[in-house]
Point group: D2
Chain length 345, copies 4
C-alpha cells in the first residue's frame, strides 16, 4: 500500500470540490485586489454562515499571516498577547506577531490539556503591573480551537475566558486553523464558537482541510476590519487575482463542505484511536478531533517509521498522529496493521 | 461582444496549462512548507532557466510581498531604497518595504520614460551625506523591468545602473513583475537581464501572466537566501501546501510557457498600438511590451467607457491600456472599432 | 578674539540659570522615572504657560526623539506624515519616525520660504487615493515653527493649515525645536501658536536655547498622552533620574527665561542682518528669528572660513548663519568686521 | 532624621564631582552631536580604562536605551535574545528590544541566585529547532553584572557562559547598569569582566552611581560600532549638546571615581547586611554589592514603612533594600535602629 500519511493535515492535497471551484472561477476577467464577484459572494457567505451581518472576510495565504496580522490589529506595540504555551502563535511563527505589531510581546501561559483556564488568566493578570510603562501590557487574548493538541473548548468555556479577558480590556482573537474540526466534533454553530462566545477576530483555516492555499481573517468588529484593509495590503497579503483565493473559501463554506471534510478527518482519527486502544497504545488524551499523541517505546517508533508510517516524533517516546479529510478507513486499518506488527502483537 | 478588458493584466484569469499543473499536483500527500517535490523541481528549473547554480526561489502570494521582503533583506533599517518615482514599490505598496525593513525609506527618483539613468543616480548620490547618521543611507537600488510605464532597459543599460550602484555599495533588486514580457520583447535571456547585469535579488512575477496566485523571489546571493528563509516565514509567506504555488511556477517556467504567454500579450498590444496610430491617437511612447498610455479628450474617454471598453483613467486626458495573455486579436479589433466610433471617425 | 560661532544654536553651552537649576535639584533623594517633585512642578508650569489644564509634558533627550515619537503616536503604521520638504523630521532624523511608527512614510511637500500653504495641502490631498490600501494614507500634518529656514507662521496661518488638515482627519504636530524664538519674535502667546491654532502635540525644544540636554513632548490630547507613557518608556526616553531633565525645563519656562534667551538670539541675528545689509550681502529672506542664509561668492566664503568665522556651507554660494542666546553684540560686530574684510570692502 | 532611602540607587542625586564636570563643560561653544572635545576625550578614557584600543563609546539617556539598542544591533529580527528571567531587558523595558530589533523575541531563562549557568544555556539550545524558520533563532546572550538580584559572576563564570554562547554563534551583550559595583566588589578589572570574558557590547551604567542622566553603550566590535552610529541617531539618542553627557561619563571614569562611588554603596550595604544579620533578619542571599532582599512578616514591613524607611515591597513578605553612593554609615545605623524597633526587639 505504500506510505500511510499521519504527519499533518497540511500534507494532504486539495479537495476535488475546491479544485473544481478554482476551474470554475477561471472565466473571463474580473477586477483585481478583491473587487471581484467571488470575493463579494464569499463575504455574503461568511455573513450567512457566521450569522453576523457586519462580518468581513480577508483571504490570506497562510494561518501564520492570519494569526499575526489579526493579533497585531488588536494589540498596541507596547502590548502583549496572552495565549497557551503550545499556541502556534507562540511556538511556530518565528515572532510574526512581533513583526506585524511593531514589537509587541507574546506570552505563553500554562494549562493542562493544551487549554487555558480563567484561573490561568487571573494568575497572569495578578502578575501584571497594569498601567506601568515598564511592563508590556496584556492587550490580546489569543485562544486556539481546537487547541494545538487537538482538544476543545465548549462555547461556555470560551465565553468564560473571553469575559475574563474583557474585564481587563483585552481584545479576543481565535486561532481557528482547524475550526471546522471543532464544529464537526461539537455540533456547535460557527456563531456559537466565535462572536457569540466573545471572539472579535478569527483566523479561519481552510488549507489544512481541503483548500490549496487559502486561509482567512474573519473580523466581527468593523473598526478592526477597517485597519485590516491596510495591514494586509502592506503585508503583501492582498492577492491581485483574489478571486482564486475567494473561490476556494466560498466553495469551502458552501453546503457544509468544510464540515463534511473535517468530519471525515475526525472520524478517521476516532477509528484510529479506537484501534490503538484495542492494541493497548497509551494516548495522551482521548482525541476530540483529528489529532492524537501516543506514547510508545523508542524501538516501536523506529519500527513504525521503517514500516513507512509517517508521523511527527515529538520526544523520545512521544509521537503525533494527524488524520486529514483524505484519510480513508482503509488507510486507518492499514496503519493499525502496521502498529500491530511494530508492537510485536 | 460585451466588455473589452484593458485595465490590467491582473484582471485576467489563469492559463489552462497552469490550472492543469495544479490539478496534476493534487496527488497523494507531500511534505509541507516547501519540502515537497514540486518545490524541489521548481528550484532546479529556476537554476536551469536563469543559468545560475546557486539561485534559490521562494514562492510568495504577491508581487508586493516579493518586492518588500526582497528589498528589506538588502537594506538596513537606517537605509533607503532608491527607485524610479513610478516604481510599484514607491507608489502602490502602502509602505510595505518600510514595514519589513524596520523603517527604511523609499526614495523615488525622476527619469524620462519611467527609466532611471546613471546620471540620476549620480545626482542622488551627490545629494547624499554619506556616512552621516542624520540621513538615511542609500542602500538598495530597485529597478523595474519592464518599468511601470511599460518601457524597457537593455542588458547594457541595466549593467550601467548596477555598476553605478555598486560603486556606492548599494545592493540591487529587480522588480520583474512582468519580466516575461521584457524577455519576450527583447529576446534577451533571463540571465542577461538579471544576475549577469548585476541584479542580486529578483521579484519574479507570474500572476499577471497566467498564474493564479504565485509570484516568487529569486535570490542569486546565498547570504540573502539564508535570510529570506526566516523573513518569509515570519511574514506568513511560506505556504503550508507550498506545492500548489510551486506547481504554478514550475509550469510557468517550463517549455517557455511564460515567454509564450507574455508574447501573446505583447503582440496584442502591438496590434492595438498600430491600430491606434492609424486612428491618430497619441500614445505617450511606443509600447515596448503590453502597456500603452493614450492621450484623449475627456469626451472621448467617456464615450469609450460607455462603450464598455475597460481601462484605467490616470488623468483628465490620459488613460492606460494593458493587454494580457488572454487578449485576442479579435478583442483588439473590437477595441479599435469602439475607438473609431468614440473618436467620431 | 578667536573664532566667532555662527554654525548652530546647538553648539552653544548652557544658560547659567539652567545650570543653577540642576545644582538646586541635587538635594536628597526623590522618586525615579518621573514621579519626582520637579516633574510634577514642570507639569504645572507647562499647564500654566500654555494655558491648558490637561496638557502633559514628557521630557526627552533630543528633538529627534520628540518629533519621531510624537508623530508616531499620531500616525498608524500605514499612514504618512506630511511636512515641508525642509522639515527636520524629513531631512535630518534618519527615518526615526518610520522606526517608531512601524513603517509609516514621511512626505516632504514644497513651499516657498520653507512654509507650507493650504494650497500645498490641497494639492497633496488631491493626489491622494483616500481609502485605497495600496497607498499610505496621510494621517499627520507636522508643521515647524519657526521653520527650518527660520521663517514664521502667524497664528492665523497655522490655524488655516490645521483646519485644512482636520478636514481630512489628519492629526497635527508642531516641531517647536525653536518655539521660544518664534514666541519672542511674534509676541504671540504659547497657547496662540499651539493648541489654540489646532496643534495637538508639540515638540518643545529647550536644548538649542540654553538647556544642556532636555527637550520635551507636550501633548494637549489626553488619549495621546496615555500612549506616550508607553511609547517613551520602550524607546528608552524615560530618564530614571528624570528630575534632572525636568529641572532644566522648569527653569527654562519660569519667569520667561526661555523668551529672554530666545530674544537675545533673535536680537543678535537682527543686528547681524542689518550689518550684512549695509555690506550689501544678499540674504535669502529677511531673518525673522535667529537664522539667516547668505549668498556669497566662493572666494568670500573661503576667506570667511580662514578668518575663523564658523558657519555651515549649504551650497557653492550659500551659507547658513545662526545666532544663539550666547551671541553677544560684540560677537556680531566682530563677525561683521570679518565680513567686511573678506568682502574686500 | 526623616526618611531613609533604600528604594533604589536611581533615587539618589548626582555626585558633586560630576556636577562640577558639567559646569566645567559649559565653556564657549563646541561641535554638536558628538564631534566635541569632551566626547573625544571620553573615547580615549574608555579605551584606556577598558584596555581596548578599538572600543567605541556612545552616551545615551538611559540603561533601557543602552540595552535595547545594543542587543538589537546584535540580533536579526527573526532572532531571540536569551537572558535570565529576572533581567531588566526581560522584565522592565516594555519590550524595547523588540521595538528596536524589528520584532525579535526575548527569552527569560531560569537560574538560581539570578544567575545563568552553562547548563541552562545547554537546555535552551537543546530545545531550539536550529535553522528551522518556524522558530525564532537564539542570536544574543544578554548577561547582567551584577545581576538584577545583586549577585555576581566571576570572570571565569562569564567566560564559560560566553564560550557556550559562541559555540552556537550567539553574540554577547552585558548589561552593566551597575558594573562599577561589580568591579568594586570583585577587584577585577573592567577588561576582565567584559571583553576578555567574551563580552562584545556593554551597557555601561553611570546614572545609578552618581551621574545625572548618562549611561552609555561601549562596543568592542567595530562592525557593531558602525551600526550603532545609525541606530542611535534614529532612536533620538544622539544628544545635540553631547558634551554634557560625555562630560558626566568622562568624570565618572576618571581617577577611579566610579569605583569609589560604587565602593561606598557596597560598603553601606555590607554594614546594613551585617546589622540585619545581628537582628536575625533573613536575607535571600548574602549581598555581594549594594542590594539585599529581606524576608519579613507583613506587620514588620508595615511598621518599617510607617517609620519612614523607604524600600520596594516585592511580595507579601519580601522587600528589596538598595544603597547608593549617597548612603552614609549614619543612614545605615538609623535604618538599623528602625529595624530594631519595628521588629519589636
Amino acid at each position: 500500500m505504500g506510505s500511510i500519511e499521519l504527519r499533518s493535515d497540511n500534507t494532504a492535497g486539495a479537495a476535488p470540490e475546491i479544485l473544481a471551484a478554482l476551474a470554475a472561477a477561471n472565466t473571463g476577467t474580473d477586477s483585481a485586489y478583491g473587487a471581484d464577484a467571488w470575493t463579494q459572494r464569499l463575504r455574503d457567505r461568511v455573513r450567512a454562515v457566521f450569522e453576523h451581518p457586519q462580518a468581513e472576510v480577508f483571504p490570506v495565504l497562510t494561518g501564520t499571516a492570519a494569526n499575526a496580522i489579526a493579533t497585531a490589529a488588536l494589540c498596541p506595540p507596547w502590548g502583549a498577547a496572552l495565549c497557551h504555551r503550545s499556541a502556534h502563535l507562540n511556538t511556530n511563527e518565528c515572532g510574526a506577531m512581533s513583526l506585524y505589531s511593531g514589537g509587541a510581546q507574546i506570552r505563553g501561559l500554562e494549562g493542562a490539556g493544551y487549554r487555558l483556564t480563567p484561573a490561568a488568566l487571573d494568575e497572569a493578570f495578578a502578575a501584571t503591573s497594569w498601567g506601568d510603562p515598564h511592563h508590556s501590557q496584556p492587550s490580546v487574548l489569543s485562544l486556539t480551537l481546537p487547541t494545538d493538541g487537538g482538544t476543545l473548548y465548549s462555547a461556555a468555556e470560551l465565553t468564560a475566558l473571553t469575559q475574563k479577558a474583557r474585564e481587563r480590556r483585552l481584545r479576543v482573537h481565535l486561532d481557528g486553523a482547524r475550526l471546522a474540526n471543532a464544529l464537526a466534533a461539537s455540533g456547535s454553530t460557527p456563531a456559537e464558537l466565535t462572536w457569540r462566545a466573545g471572539v472579535e477576530v478569527l483566523s479561519l483555516g481552510a488549507t489544512k482541510n481541503g483548500a490549496l492555499c487559502a486561509d482567512a481573517i474573519v473580523s466581527f468588529d468593523p473598526a478592526v476590519s477597517e485597519q485590516l484593509v491596510y495591514r494586509l495590503k502592506r503585508a503583501g497579503h492582498v492577492a491581485s487575482k483574489q478571486r482564486f483565493l475567494s473561490a476556494q473559501l466560498e466553495a469551502y463554506l458552501t453546503d457544509g463542505l468544510w464540515l463534511r471534510l473535517a468530519g471525515r478527518a475526525n472520524e478517521a482519527m476516532a477509528r484510529l484511536a479506537q484501534g490503538l486502544g484495542r492494541l493497548g497504545v497509551s494516548l495522551e488524551h482521548p482525541p476530540e478531533v483529528n489529532m492524537a499523541f501516543a506514547r510508545l517505546a523508542p524501538a516501536v517508533i523506529e519500527r513504525l517509521q521503517r514500516a513507512d508510517l509517517r508521523f511527527y516524533v515529538l520526544g523520545l517516546e512521544l509521537i503525533r498522529l494527524v488524520t486529514s479529510f483524505q484519510t480513508t478507513a482503509a488507510d486507518v486499518d492499514e496503519a493499525l496493521a502496521r502498529f500491530t506488527k511494530s508492537l510485536g502483537l
